[in-house]
Amino acid sequence: MATKHVVFTFNHLPYGTVYYAEGLRAAVGVTSGIDEHTVDLVYLGDGVHFAVKDLDRTDSARYLATFAKQGVKLKVEKESLAARNISAADLADDTEIISHADAVDLIKRADLTIAF
């Protein structure tokens, strides 16, 4: 087995389902094996609502703390933010805005993609 780069996409609103937390849990799992796979966390469409700074992150705080230690930021698609009238000032510190073109490129280059 070799190290792979895995892109997790988050596509759902942050409450009402377990997608947002389960996806992060799975992503932590992917990075914790002996192969030391690497991940990108990409928020698309309604998923970008997870990135706002006032969101209650109780359910996912421990997973996010793990990624913070690894220097992994939440990549949030700029066009999805604009469509939902969310500004950069509304976002949490551990997020990073990327363009749609950047999101396409990350997904194309990934060894594996997993959607939540």
Binding site: L44, G45, A103, V104
Partner: protein, 90 residues
């Protein structure tokens, strides 16, 4: 190797927006993905779009399905999955 976007409904809108900007893509709609609004693909009319025939038939979508969607059986689906890099949105 082309990228095969395997798409089911909860992710269809975001997935099609990504696939539309991938010049080396093909799309397979699976399960409720066959209901997807294909408008995002309008700018990429060369992109092949397949739909799992059984999923189309079960939902009575045969006559209403967009003509750009080519129905395929499970044997063809398996061939496509083996021959391409799968980008999973299902």
């Amino acid at each position: 190797m082309s990228n095969l976007y395997l798409i089911d409904q909860p992710f269809a809108s975001n997935a099609l927006a990504i696939a539309a900007d991938d010049s080396d893509a093909l799309v397979v709609l699976i399960q409720d993905g066959v209901y997807a609004d294909l408008t995002p693909l309008a700018k990429q009319n060369r992109l092949p779009v397949y739909g799992v025939a059984k999923d189309i038939e079960r939902r009575g979508l045969g006559k209403r399905l967009e003509k750009t969607v080519q129905p395929i059986g499970f044997d063809k689906l398996v061939d496509l999955i083996i021959d391409h890099k799968v980008i999973n949105f299902a």
